[in-house]
């Protein structure tokens, strides 16, 4: 379950970054998303971001589950920021690659 929570949180980060013009330029050079696209990405990100703690609480109870989720958030925020700084495209490939994983990962 931790892996699923991790993937969801990280994907939410990537989606949020895509919705931010500056980071979008880093990941997709020369591409500008319109307002509607940005809102859609933010909505998806919010969904992922909200389902992560729900899953974590289901797995470990409110105390440990939330503690774990916050730890995962720290990790994915740091990871995403460092990826954007040095390897911006990797987060896009990662997003594409990890989406199908969501259906399998359960531990």
């Amino acid at each position: 379950m931790t892996a699923t929570v991790f993937l969801l949180s990280w994907q939410a980060c990537v989606l949020l970054c895509l919705a931010m013009p500056r980071h979008c330029m880093d990941m997709l050079p020369g591409r500008r998303l319109n307002r509607l696209q940005q809102r859609g990405l933010q909505l998806l990100a919010a969904l992922a971001l909200l389902s992560a703690p729900v899953l974590a609480i289901q797995a470990d109870g409110p105390g440990i589950g939330l503690a774990c989720w916050l730890g995962i958030l720290s990790l994915v925020i740091m990871a995403q920021a460092l990826l954007l700084a040095w390897r911006p495209k990797w987060s896009l490939w990662g997003l594409a690659g990890s989406l199908p994983l969501l259906t399998v990962v359960q531990f």
Partner: protein, 532 residues
């Protein structure tokens, strides 16, 4: 002069309280973070201890009871800590004698209280080298060695309070908390340090708020002795009455009638069956007396500091007692439990470690940012301000010097002969003496060299640690891998990771901050700007 805005005022408060308190807070964060791997460090620092095969709680209890019965039948209290979770890898027994009539004749009992570790395969005492271990490092973060207990407590309270203030003002003055949420722009000097400071703080803000706030709660009543005055009245005894009511501690009276201790292993087996969780502790008050009480504790997968609990009388029949569970007590236990993270399994423990490291980085980057903001202007002056130079030197001597000194504490563990007396104290002085020397060194050396050379020193020390293990003890990295001693392996890998980090730092420093060589400091200042 225009009156300052709210944000500017908060900015000043953040900058200056941050600066004044940051060095000791850095020390607290480094040692406290290491506390999340205290058991693993303990293991590394006593490598000769035989790894223990898994043992059932019943068998371990039987071994412990046999030992205590044989050596300490007249103790007032026995305490058995069973090898059950990551926090308690060893079977340990503790005993305590009544203060007034402690046994003078038997030389073994001259110590009022004691503890030993037992080998679960033989039931004999398990003796490792004399060391403070990871526990000592972890305790440093609230005991602040060398300072009287009460003074340390008050100092800690003051620093923790300003840490909380720095966190809150930090959130207020952060201009674009959402816009810059994922921003890190490397290679831009001051900008990069600000980004790193913001990023580490924002990414781990819930943890930092929790750890600081809960740090204050630990000594809540010492810091706010007047909270009870309203309902209980003024005075030390009134305060005690308040404490007794929240945390009732009952006296268990001796009846002076012999009654043999029941078979504890059977009671432990029953408790384990009832809870379906590992039993962690067994406590016997007045063993061998008819007034005896047996308290059994079990692991519970929650954040609370307390787990399952069961009280039994002298013959092993249940007493209907529960631990205090009023709302304030549960809140207190929950907050302290979150701070200590003893409930955390390997994954969550990793997150605790990460969050602690981010906090450490947050403080370090804040300090560097302060200096970096002022460096260009200061170096244009013929003589930099003494205050600025003090910050620069303390930064180098603490941010790089402290990790180096801690590395030397570990090195001392491998280098000081095992048979030497007071070797635990020698190890501890290794840390403080070397840190003192490093601070002296950074006070004298040109600052450009200082950072680079100290980083190189740290990298070297941590690189030597696995080698020292290889030479001085049998239980080195490869032994750990072959024998699946993951605590030992983890610590050794941690040292290697630290080496790599400091090597990268040293390399970056070399690239971005050329050594002065024959050039004057002024020239190197201009070349510094050119490289930026």
């Amino acid at each position: 002069m225009k009156p300052a805005t709210f944000r500017e005022t908060m900015g000043g408060l953040h900058t200056w309280t941050g600066l004044i308190f940051a060095w000791l807070l850095f020390f607290i964060f480094v040692t406290g973070t290491l506390g999340y791997v205290d058991t693993e460090l303990d293991r590394w620092m006593q490598p000769e201890l035989a790894t223990q095969p898994p043992i059932s709680a019943e068998e371990a209890t039987a071994l412990a009871q046999r030992y205590l019965q044989q050596h300490h039948p007249d103790a007032e209290e026995w305490f058995i800590s069973l090898p059950s979770t990551r926090n308690t890898p060893w079977l340990q027994v503790f005993w305590r004698y009544p203060k007034d009539r402690h046994n003078q004749e038997n030389s073994e009992h001259t110590r009022h209280r004691g503890r030993v570790r037992l080998d679960v395969t033989t039931g004999k005492v398990l003796q490792g080298r004399d060391t403070g271990g990871g526990q000592w490092l972890y305790k440093l973060h609230y005991k602040l060695a060398g300072i009287p207990r009460d003074a340390a407590k008050m100092l800690l309270g003051l620093f923790t309070m300003f840490m909380l203030l720095a966190l809150i003002t930090g959130v207020i003055i952060h201009r674009h908390i959402f816009h810059d949420f994922f921003s890190f722009r490397p290679g831009k000097r001051q900008r990069s340090w600000l980004d790193l400071h913001n990023l580490t703080s924002v990414a781990s803000l819930p943890f930092q708020l929790m750890i600081t706030y809960s740090g204050l709660i630990f000594f809540l009543i010492s810091y706010m002795p007047f909270i009870a005055v309203g309902s209980y009245g003024l005075g030390g005894d009134r305060l005690q009455a308040f404490i007794n009511e929240i945390f009732p501690r009952e006296q268990i009276e001796q009846q002076h009638q012999n009654q043999p201790v029941p078979d504890l292993s059977q009671l432990v087996a029953n408790a384990g069956q009832q809870w379906q969780q590992p039993v962690t502790t067994v406590e016997v008050h007045w063993p061998g007396d008819s007034g005896s009480e047996i308290h059994i504790g079990g692991y519970q997968p929650t954040i609370l500091r307390v787990g399952h609990y069961m009280a039994l009388d002298a013959s092993g029949l249940p007493l209907h007692k529960t631990l205090p569970d009023s709302a304030p007590v549960i809140f207190h236990q929950g907050i302290l439990g979150l701070h200590e993270g003893t409930f955390a399994g390997p994954v969550l423990r990793g997150f605790y470690l990460l969050s602690g490291l981010l906090g450490t980085l947050m403080i370090a980057s804040g300090l560097i940012l302060w200096a970096s903001k002022r460096r260009a202007r200061q170096l244009k002056q013929p003589q930099p301000d003494p205050g600025f130079m003090l910050v620069e030197r303390l930064n180098a001597g603490t941010l790089i010097g402290l990790p180096a000194a801690i590395g030397l504490y570990f090195a001392a563990n491998r280098l000081i002969p095992v048979a030497l007396e007071n070797r635990a104290e020698l190890e501890q002085s290794a840390l403080f003496i070397s840190w003192g020397l490093i601070l002296l060194y950074s006070a004298r050396r040109p600052i450009q060299c200082c950072w680079y050379e100290l980083s190189l020193l740290s990298a070297t020390i941590y690189a030597l640690l696995p080698l020292l293990s290889l030479i001085t003890v049998e239980q080195h990295l490869f032994w750990g891998l072959a024998n699946s001693d993951w605590a030992l392996v983890g610590v050794e890998l941690g040292f290697i990771a630290t080496t790599v980090s400091f090597t990268i730092i040293a390399r970056k420093l070399r690239q971005h901050w050329p050594q002065p060589g024959q050039r004057t400091p002024r020239k190197s200042a201009t070349s510094m700007e050119a490289t930026a």
